[in-house]
Symmetry: D2
């Protein structure tokens, strides 16, 4: 099987302007994510908002099997042209993993067709993530649940289409629940939304979080098939 | 139970410029659809592209429980402002029934997040529509299948998200199949895509087609609930 | 529309042998459930384990649109013949509402095809039930969540097939989550599993719980259609 | 990755008593299926009805990752004990691929919880199998459709639960459609029902059919995780 090629995209702003975040992720969240993916044997590159084309040229995307997306402060600064490009590639089969506050990214909202709104609270409370799809490849190696001692809370309702597969449900100490691992199929592409990853906590160093993202990369990699044919066609059977 | 208020929207172009269509639908498809819905006891109005705001003002939409949409030639002439308005109302709970070539309407593509492309052929061939969700309210009163002697063919793949409920599958004489009755849930709204209804055939006079649309109106009517609350919230439980 | 005919089935054992339960439900849980359903205008009868055929004769079931089931101590005492009878009726279109500990009833396990096992704890802790399908008829009239001050805990994993529609997710103070409102379609029938209702708490007097059960009765009522035809058939089209 | 261990089970009766079938499958269908799976690199054994325990001892099943099942004439001769054993293994994570007339096998009906009835006709007519889940690993390498020149017809309604994923829809020359590739998740196990494979046609020599079964084996292989914990549990959080 061919090595899976991953591009990790990060808006990379918090890490440069907030000391607390910089201490946790001195080279940016994308660098930490890229590292544990490389150790797993994937071919990984990174891309950020400030690069030309946000680092997501046609050439980069055409050589990406799975794109990981983290954004928060600058969703509106992502150009529509790049969003269109990513959108087309997802429908062609490129996997997309949407992390945490990227629920509000242009690309996720466009693929979902809903507002992707939710409840939230920054109180560093405990999150316990329960597996509700015990058969799912993204749950490989996980027990019934895993915990993050401090995370931002996201709560229901989460304005997304009913997930095609619901893998995780989060419990928060403050009283809310959240569908925190959601799979969607769009075109030939697979999309996984994974909730954890607030910039002020060391979430992407957590071994269970890393395992989920690794599993998701394998799950989201494209299935090779000829492109579907759309448009006007002749009959396959004789019409009388 | 309150009377369901339906608005039937039609771009209303084919009927005015094509003699063959005008013979079948002299006052437009919307008028025929509105009539059989009125006979069922619904409160029905119509709206067309040429009206101010395409007949879909805030006031009209705020007083619409279920919107029916037929379009083909002029999808791009529907203003983005009106599309935004319809979009918001669907997420707030207004039902939406999308007919035939409106698979390519701006509003359907926006709610689906995919291209909504498909195969097609205009050969007036036979379509046989099979019920695959025997428990579904939209299948009420239907046998295992019903037939349309002459219809345009639509064939798979149909580039939509996996339907939340698949009600009908069509068989076409020329050799194709199509997921021709598809339910989607988005926000608080219900969406039903129903395939038949090419302008050159008298499809909307067919009693089974009428029954499906009547059933779909009842199914798609809004469920009354307080609006969901999104955004920043205080903890419901004490955090330690 | 015809009045919906409901049969409320209860094993009716706890209430007769446990003082604490008898104080809450002196005439049995089925009587309390039957009362609020009657007030809503449904035609309601009750049936219990000790009756001949457990009160579920062919005649009773043939005149039942929706069957509600509560059991806990005596699942194994329900005769296989009666289970077969209920099973056939569900596939023919009779709605089935399965309450709380009836997740382990013979009829639910048979319809699910899984063990229906779960985690549990009797500690009278708080349950907060969140709506995750804001468009769903069973959520009619409910806000984003409702609370039960004291309930038994049920926790994930819950060994059921992925629900065809997931309406509610419960948060429990002790740290668990649970898919507590689950819809399933089987044959022509609709099945709703609803978690709350431990016998030692006055759960079925709660107005939100009552509203859910009322909504579920309307949702689960049969859709009238001819019976599907199975078996050997002649071709509908000429074979060459 | 560990080699996937497949057991191909066949009732193996038609091939021994029907000359026409024997000519196509002189050593039984299981032998042909086993061969193309071995060529793909899987570790494959076969098992048949006439063997002790039908060849499905605890030891065999404990060393099987994916079980393939073909049966038709002798569903009732499969012992309940063996069915129980297979059932438990599927819920523990063993994949199950159910072929053609095995829709009526005890194990499939038990896992589905429905009758699994359908329409059928033996007329050797053309089947065209359309891909409706272009993103699905089971569709890997397939075009928009593939054809089988002669097959038995199976038609809707097919009395199964709504598939968790619908991969294929068949078109039949005689006028019917069928959901012919259906995925189900039960417990930790994955189940794939695949329609083609009537004993009087050389279907399992077809390269596309072989490809689908190979893809399905990979998809159905177990995901390694600790067993879920069910039953009474202590609180994870302090209860006040």
């Amino acid at each position: 099987m061919r090595t899976i090629r991953v591009t990790v995209w990060n808006e990379y702003i918090h890490e440069k302007k907030d000391t607390k975040v910089a201490e946790i992720y001195p080279k940016g969240m994308h660098t930490v994510i890229a590292e544990f993916l490389r150790e797993e044997g994937f071919e990984v590159r990174t891309a950020t908002l400030e690069e030309k084309d946000h680092g997501l040229t046609e050439e980069v995307l055409n050589n990406t099997d799975v794109l990981i997306w983290w954004g928060h402060l600058a969703h509106e600064k992502v150009s529509d042209e790049v969003v269109d490009r990513v959108y087309r590639r997802v429908l062609e089969g490129m996997g997309l993993i949407v992390l945490h506050s990227a629920h509000y990214s242009k690309i996720f909202k466009r693929l979902m067709g809903t507002t992707c709104s939710l409840k939230w609270r920054e109180a560093g409370e405990k999150e316990r993530i329960w597996v509700v799809a015990p058969w799912h490849p993204i749950a490989k190696g996980l027990g019934d649940y895993f915990e993050l001692e401090h995370e931002e809370m996201y709560g229901e309702p989460f304005d997304i289409p009913p997930p095609d597969e619901l893998v995780f449900i989060s419990w928060f100490k403050g009283g809310e629940v959240f569908r925190s691992g959601c799979c969607f199929y769009r075109g030939m592409g697979k999309i996984f939304y994974f909730r954890p990853g607030h910039e002020t906590y060391p979430t992407y160093y957590d071994k269970n979080v890393q395992r989920v993202i690794i599993n998701a990369v394998r799950w989201a990699a494209p299935v090779e098939r000829p492109k579907p044919r759309f448009g006007r066609v002749e009959p396959l059977e004789k019409l009388s």
